[in-house]
Amino acid sequence: MKNRFGRLAGSASSLLITLFGLVLVTFLIGRVMPIDPIIAIIGDHAPEDVIARVRVELGLDRPLYVQFGIYVWQLLHGDLGRSVMTSNTVVEDIQRYFPATIELATVAIVIATLIGVPLGVLAAVRAGSRIDIGIRVFCLAGHSIPIFLLALMSLLVFYATLDWAPGPGRADVGLEGMVPVVTGFLTVDSLIERDWDSFYDALAHLVQPAGVLAYFSMAYIARMTRAFMLDALAGEYVITARAKGLSNLRVIWRHAFGNIAVRLVTVLALTYAGLLEGAVVTETVFSWPGLGQYLTVSLLNADMNAVLGATLVVGIIYMALNLLADAAYKLLDPRVA
């Protein structure tokens, strides 16, 4: 037990160092930019003395390490600055946009798991067969296709040509803003309101972007499932189970799969983290009002406070998910002492 606490303290300290590095990197990116932050705020026609005054007000005349200290101090108070574009604080903006991204990524990972895991198991059970090769190519294709192309083509086919799916955005124009915000997840909020029209509409809008993201992340899930299953199926306990006369399905799902489930949790957490990245491009194509779109729009407007705030938040969540993956593995698998 004592050993476990020691290790916990060790990983907590390395976590803090990484977090510090994360903050330092975003701070430095913000300071190397050639666009003068003052001109971005007050325009380049301002008189000299105004520029000088704003420089002092923003603390930009201080040495870099003092500026960094101020930056960290503000961060500790939950202050990421104000977005020039929306004129809200960046924290408010992120609170508003982030639930949409989480909703999208969560639905995507559910779809990816429901399809990817059985495919991986099937590929492992039929290792070397045509089915195995087919699954491998199908998944590799999902990993190789640019996600924005997939998104554009999906819009072209399912929205513009077949008219099966609603267009871009999170809700139909008529239904937008009809449901009061409770959790920020449109599907959950409309369920709370018992507003079935809004619920079906939100769900219909989710299917396409979530499906695109799911195909993108399925490759990794299926590949890892296959590799773990190949390992497990070669185990002696599987031979024992078969020798006892258990059915094939029971051996595969109860005995072999039961043993790899913990390792899969790790894979799922890592995939979820990876979805944050795919979400940036997918959200742009589907006009999905999430953090990814917020980030790209701020980028195009050189709104550095917003860019850095969003980058930092994504970095912290990414790190937390990676950590969670590690912790889940260590806690759930008794073999990792």
Binding site: T18, V25, P146, V281
Partner: protein, 300 residues
């Protein structure tokens, strides 16, 4: 006749020289690799793409920037094999020249990143102690960002363009190599042959450069090949978001970005460069998968 002799020489169980042993090993790896049809198709496509980009001036039928405004967004035809874009430029010729930009960016990133990652990883793994702790913490920081997002922030801070895109991708791509090289180095570090080299008086630099680094190369090559596809995708995504190569450059992601407005009516204009990205990325993925099976069987 001579082929049979060569084969016997290569497969000899008792090689007479170091060179013969080395070539024999390479030949056996090649035989393993050749037996994998997916990997071979990846190799062939990748080589064809590289050759086509190199020979772009010979293969292109038009100047990639020549505009023909009376013939905008034309469907593929005998004059324009893949149609024309929104300024009437020949898509086929732009695709060829765009391959140079895309593959050039990949090459630049790999040349920057692989040696850096190898150096960081070997030094951290070989010396251990505080050097290891310091270097690995730095690596952790860069691993803590999703790749595309750090690259986006970085490019936004400098200036959108090809060279900043390369720098940004390189900045985000090196940590996994460092991790990999460190892990490999740590398994080699305490081997008997390293102790023997040390006893003969070799310096640390010599041991790392001549004896440790070459042994990390196998898994590094696999990783680089698999990574090429993700570099292609990141470069294309940067281009698509307007943060990579800038128009009128025929970079594939940028081509899609400018043609995106027409995708509901002239869908082939953005689709064609998209297919090029897909094919290139798939080729490197297949190739990397095959190389992994041959060079790094324990990773399978």
């Amino acid at each position: 006749m001579s082929e049979a002799i060569n084969r016997a020489w290569l497969l000899s169980d008792a090689p007479a020289s170091r060179a013969q042993a080395a070539w024999g090993r390479r030949y056996r790896l090649w035989c393993d690799f050749r037996a994998n049809p997916l990997a071979m198709s990846g190799l062939i496509i990748a080589v064809l793409l590289i050759l086509a980009s190199l020979a772009a001036p010979l293969l292109a039928r038009y100047d990639p920037s020549a505009q023909e405004l009376t013939n905008r967004l034309a469907v593929p035809s005998a004059q324009h094999w893949l149609g024309t874009d929104e300024l009437g430029r020949d898509v086929y010729s732009r695709l060829l020249y765009g391959g140079r930009v895309t593959l050039g960016m990949v090459l630049a990133v790999v040349l920057l990143v692989a040696p850096l990652g190898l150096a960081v990883g070997c030094i951290a793994g070989y010396f251990g102690g505080w050097a290891d702790a310091l270097l690995m913490r730095v690596t952790d920081v860069f691993l803590a960002f999703p790749r595309l997002i750090l690259a986006l922030a970085f490019v936004a801070a400098i200036k959108p363009g090809i060279s900043s895109a390369v720098a940004a991708i390189a900045l985000t791509a090196w940590p996994p190599y460092a991790r990999l090289a460190r892990a490999e180095t740590m398994t080699i570090r305490n081997a008997d042959f390293i102790a023997a080299v040390r006893l003969t008086g070799a310096s640390s630099a010599r041991i790392v450069l001549r004896h440790v680094a070459p042994l990390c190369l196998g898994s590094l090559i696999v990783r680089v090949t698999l990574d090429m596809s993700s570099i292609i995708l990141t470069a294309a995504a940067l281009g698509f978001l307007g943060m990579g190569a800038q128009p009128p450059s025929p970079e594939w992601g940028t081509m899609i970005a400018t043609a995106r407005r027409f995708f509901l009516d002239q869908w082939w204009v953005p689709l064609i460069p998209g297919i090029a990205i897909f094919v290139a990325s798939l080729a490197f993925n297949l190739l990397g998968d095959g190389l992994r099976d041959v060079l790094d069987p324990k990773q399978r």
